[in-house]
């Protein structure tokens, strides 16, 4: 018993705990990643510590949580950085302490290797899917606005660029007439969207680059009662957006496989702990969710937020 006490004191629970720090918590988008992490954790025998800032733009709090995981010498660290640069120091510190680290969803300017790997969304594919959907909806001709650009997130820039490239290549008669930044506040985005819709009455579709932009634009379309005329294609999923798809107020949402991000991230850390090699970078394919395929098992699995039940 004494030996046990001493052993437990010297090797606290953190040696079998992996910290997963997403951009925020209690959103369906991130709770799916929670589900993936818990499922992989139960398979590999690791406990999951799950917490994040209450706001996705609270970089300081995210850094504090990462720092806590480093100080506690957790078995591994999974982080979804909310800023391209701000977390570089913390992630480098984790690597210097030989804590296996997986960056999910959005990349950092640190090359992979030496304990660091990336499991990202294929943002090029997200942009391509959005552009293809718009081209199909507008039959290759019309005006489009892109809303929700965030220069501090490479994800956002990559998606916007991929949309423009694909439209120029496959649907040259569709023009992007407006590109606007977003906000972490839905109401603020709604105001921006209403401005665009007022200034560009001939707009045919809006592509939004994140959940907040989609929700704000949806609210603007509803307020102006033009949701049937102006098509809304959103990036990133939330459950209430799916209700909008089911009722025809939102055309489609390009869903990221955050469940798989969480699942593979924990598996990658477990593999590193076993001394097995892990891929430097994995890009997961997004899925276009429409009224047609929303009830398919593949889509429903991605949208599940039941983080306590194995998928």
């Amino acid at each position: 018993m004494f030996f046990c006490l001493v052993t437990c004191a010297c090797h606290p629970q953190s040696s079998r705990t992996i910290a997963v720090i997403p951009g925020t918590t209690a959103t369906e988008f991130w709770e799916a990643a929670h589900g993936g992490a818990e499922a992989a954790g139960s398979q590999t025998g690791f406990r999951i510590y799950w917490n994040a800032p209450t706001r996705e733009d609270d970089i300081e709090r995210q850094i504090a949580l990462v720092q806590r995981a480093i100080d506690a010498e957790y078995a591994g660290l999974v982080v979804a950085p909310t800023n391209y640069l701000a977390l570089v120091g913390s992630v480098r510190q984790a690597l210097s302490k030989h804590i296996p680290t997986v960056v999910i969803r959005s990349s950092l300017p640190i090359p992979p290797g030496q304990g660091l790997s990336y499991i990202l969304n294929d943002d090029q594919e997200t942009g391509r899917l959005a552009a293809t959907r718009v081209g199909m909806l507008l039959a290759g001709k019309g005006q489009v606005a892109v809303l929700g650009l965030d220069p501090s997130r490479p994800t956002s820039i990559l998606r916007a660029r991929a949309i423009e490239v694909e439209l120029a290549k496959s649907f040259p008669k569709i023009s992007v007439v407006e590109k606007r930044s977003g906000s972490s506040n839905t109401g603020e985005v709604q105001q921006i969207a209403q401005e665009i819709l007022t200034e560009k009455p001939s707009l045919d579709a809006i592509i939004t680059l994140d959940v907040t932009a989609t929700e704000g634009t949806w609210a603007a379309l509803a307020a102006l009662r033009i949701s049937k005329r102006v098509k809304l294609i959103g990036c990133e999923q939330e459950l209430d957006l799916m209700a909008g798809i089911r009722h025809g107020d939102i055309d489609s949402v390009i869903a990221e496989n955050t469940y798989e991000m969480g699942f593979r991230a924990i598996q990658a850390i477990a593999a590193q702990k076993r001394g097995e090699p892990v891929p430097d970078k994995i890009e997961l394919k997004p899925v276009l969710v429409t009224k047609v395929n929303i009830d398919k098992d593949e889509v429903q699995r991605m949208l599940s937020v039941n983080w306590r039940m194995p998928h």
Binding site: W50, P53, R55, R61, G187, W218, L239, D240, S304, N306
Partner: protein
């Protein structure tokens, strides 16, 4: 119980201590859990028993308020051992698109939306439902039941949550309409114990009449009988289940028109930082937008360019984080910009923005006036002003500043703060002389006690700690000296014990053997056998006798040493047996104040005295022998004088009868740096020994209580080994 008697007495005390400790641990583990009884004192402003995890909490009109839109802000109290209980409170939502409610069986709390383990029951106005579910650093919604007549912000509801076993049930009563809604859940692997808490998500909230009492199954049944008990969260955690159960109302999150007389939403508004340059000669109203960073004592709003104070038109229910559109007249002063004669429009509710980290020198420039900042400073002093505000005087580098907390949970922070602590404070930076009193260049207006974090306590080297440390050091030093001397005493006792044992051994073996040899040789010398050469046998007999005497002297010396007797008494003990078979008169006297020498030195003195007296008896045929001890401050003199026939000292044999004679005495004297002089004439011999006495040592061990000897028994055994 015989085995008890076999336990070494030295181990009895530690064993008892261990058994008592085990008893207390068992008693602690199996003690009766505390009864969950709680009634709030928010009316008298007492909230110190509550611990906040996020949010901005303060006492407000007999209730406690979270004046923040932060998602998942919690306030926790009670015991982690509370098990089956009822919690009830009156709850009011301060905004839209959120929820507020009660937590039961909470543990493992930290900042974060669902960062705790427990159960939450809330009233959610976004979809007019009453929800119940399990939080475990994640949220599992078990039930969402529509509330009749909807849920309205700024309207009181009475919420009651009962937790018994693994069943949790709750009811919400609208006191005006008397409509009641109930939810219930059961979980197999449930959390069985935990604290109670208040929680809001996005809306902020007010809570009053918070009570907790023990509950039994019958209390639970009263609610469970009226509703379905959810045993799985599965349905609400999938997209199909989520969207099939909840009513669809389209997206309506737009600007909230909470002010009926407010202006229409203005899309193009000037940045707040530009208001500093507005002329007040021809004052005309301006419309600006900003998010609320402080509500009391003055409302402040900020955007990325700056912040301004806003005079409230009336008691407006704004919260920290709310996005406001304000129309008013600009009053630009050196102490900051203020908007007067204002009308407000609440645009959106959002979580409070994180503060900017700045230094005190940067804040002193006025560049951050009216903005939420975070600054570190060392606390110089603290005071209460009119019982409403707490004022902290701080210093950072060369900048002095003050921090003011108005109203909010002062009781929690005031007593906790110690001068010279390093604090990290979040608050609105203002240069208004109403707050700085022109004593400092700026002041920080804190939103709640949670805006103050203690980075480091006061440095340990203050006067009080130095005195305490010095005192502790003296005590430790005394204890160390005491232990050292006690250990030394134990060691000496062990040595004495060992010598006694050796004496017994010599007596029982060597001395007995010599006695046997003497008997055999005597019988050989005086017996009938004529072929035995008498001279060598006589010589062997003599040597055996001498050795026997030596053995007895050793025994006497070993038994005498290391007792508490004085040197004079020890001399008597070892010398008296030498004259027992003769008519020699022996006198022993001591002069001066007797002092103890080391055991080794005393042993050598005794052996020298024995040798001198033995020589006087055996060789000098003395009739009187006097032994005199003279104690002086730094030396001890011993004179052994006899009246026998003298001898020529220079020709005295090195060895005599097989044992060390004068040579041995000289060697013994040299071993303790003593000086030995032997003078002899026809009328007698005088042996003088002068032994230096080292400076006297402290004998603190004499202060030790007797029980230390008992405790030290094992140590003594170990030392003797």
């Amino acid at each position: 119980m015989r085995w008890l008697g076999q336990i070494d007495r030295g181990f009895a005390a530690p064993l008892c201590f261990f058994l008592i400790a085990v008893f207390f641990v068992i008693a602690l583990l199996f003690r009766n859990p505390p009864e969950p009884h709680y009634r709030d004192s928010f009316g008298s402003g007492k909230t110190a028993e509550w611990h906040a995890y996020g949010g901005s909490w303060d006492s407000y009109g007999g209730a406690i308020r979270n004046n923040s839109d932060e998602r998942g802000a919690k306030l926790i109290t009670g015991s982690s051992q509370w098990s089956n209980y009822t919690v009830e409170a009156d709850v009011l939502l301060l905004g839209q698109n959120g929820d507020a409610g009660l937590i039961v069986r909470s543990s493992d709390e930290e900042e974060g939306v669902d960062a705790y383990s427990g159960y939450y029951v809330g009233l959610r106005d976004r979809n007019n439902t009453m929800v119940i579910g399990r939080a475990d650093h994640g949220w599992m919604e078990y039930q969402a039941v529509p509330v009749k007549d909807s849920i309205h912000p700024f309207h009181w509801y009475h919420l009651k949550v009962i937790a018994v076993g693994c069943e949790i049930a709750a009811s919400a009563l609208d006191p005006e309409s008397q409509q009641e809604t109930a939810v219930a859940m059961v979980e197999n692997d449930c959390a069985r114990k935990g604290r109670i808490g208040l929680r809001s998500y996005s809306s902020g909230g007010l809570w009053k009449n918070v009570r907790a009492n023990p509950a039994v199954s019958a209390d639970l049944a009263a609610i469970v009988d009226r509703t379905q008990v959810a045993d799985s969260p599965e349905r609400l955690q999938t997209e199909q289940g989520f969207n099939s159960l909840l009513p669809y109302s389209g997206k309506a999150v737009g600007p909230t028109d909470s002010s009926s007389n407010g202006p229409a939403m203005n899309i193009h508004t000037p940045p707040l930082g530009s208001l500093r340059f507005v002329s007040d000669i021809q004052a005309s109203p301006v419309t600006v937008r900003g998010s609320v960073v402080l509500t009391a004592p003055v409302l402040y709003i900020e955007d990325s360019s700056g912040g301004v104070a806003v005079e409230l038109p009336q008691s407006s229910p704004v919260k920290i984080g709310d996005e406001l559109q304000v129309t008013g007249v600009v009053d630009a002063r050196p102490g900051g910009v203020r908007l007067r004669n204002t009308t407000l429009r609440l645009l959106w509710s959002r979580g409070p923005a994180p503060p900017l980290s700045v230094t005190a020198s940067q804040a002193a420039t006025g560049a951050f006036d009216g903005m939420l900042v975070e600054i570190e400073g060392r606390l110089l002093g603290k005071s209460r002003v009119q019982g409403r505000s707490v004022v902290l005087d701080l210093q950072s580098g060369h900048q002095a500043f003050r921090a003011i907390l108005h109203g909010a949970r002062q009781d929690l922070m005031f007593d906790r703060l110690q001068p010279n602590s390093l604090l990290r404070l979040k608050g609105v930076c203002v240069a208004d002389p109403a707050f700085t009193e022109n004593l400092t260049s700026f002041a920080l207006l804190l939103r709640s006690s949670e805006d103050m974090g203690i980075v480091a306590g006061p440095p340990w080297w203050d006067t009080r700690h130095l005195v305490e440390g010095g005192f502790a050091l003296v005590i430790l030093l005394m204890a160390a000296v005491f232990i050292y001397f006690r250990a030394e005493q134990w060691r000496m006792s062990a040595v004495a014990e060992e010598r006694s044992r050796m004496a017994r051994e010599i007596h029982d073996t060597l001395a007995q053997s010599f006695a046997g040899i003497v008997l055999q040789l005597e019988s050989a010398l005086h017996g009938p056998r004529s072929d035995v050469e008498s001279a060598p046998v006589a010589m062997a007999l003599n040597m055996a006798r001498q050795s026997r005497r030596e053995a007895h002297r050793s025994i006497a010396a070993l038994r005498t040493l290391h007792t508490d007797q004085s040197l004079e008494n020890m001399l008597r003990k070892v010398l008296r047996p030498l004259i027992s078979e003769s008519h020699v008169k022996l006198s022993i006297a001591s002069h001066g104040t007797p002092q103890r020498l080391s055991g080794e030195a005393e042993g050598q003195i005794l052996r020298i005295a024995q040798e001198a007296v033995a020589n006087a008896i055996q060789h000098a045929m003395a009739s009187r022998i006097s032994v005199r001890l003279v104690f002086e401050e730094r030396k001890l003199g011993m004179e052994v004088e006899d009246d026998g026939r003298g001898f020529e000292v220079s020709t005295a044999p090195a060895f005599e009868d097989g044992h060390f004679g004068i040579t041995g005495m000289r060697e013994r004297a040299a071993s303790m740096n003593a000086h030995l002089t032997i003078t002899s004439a026809d009328h007698g011999t005088k042996v003088t020994l002068v032994v230096p006495i080292p400076p006297r040592r402290m004998q603190l061990w004499k202060l030790a209580p007797p029980w230390t000897q008992r405790i030290g028994q094992p140590l003594r055994s170990w030392l003797s080994r």
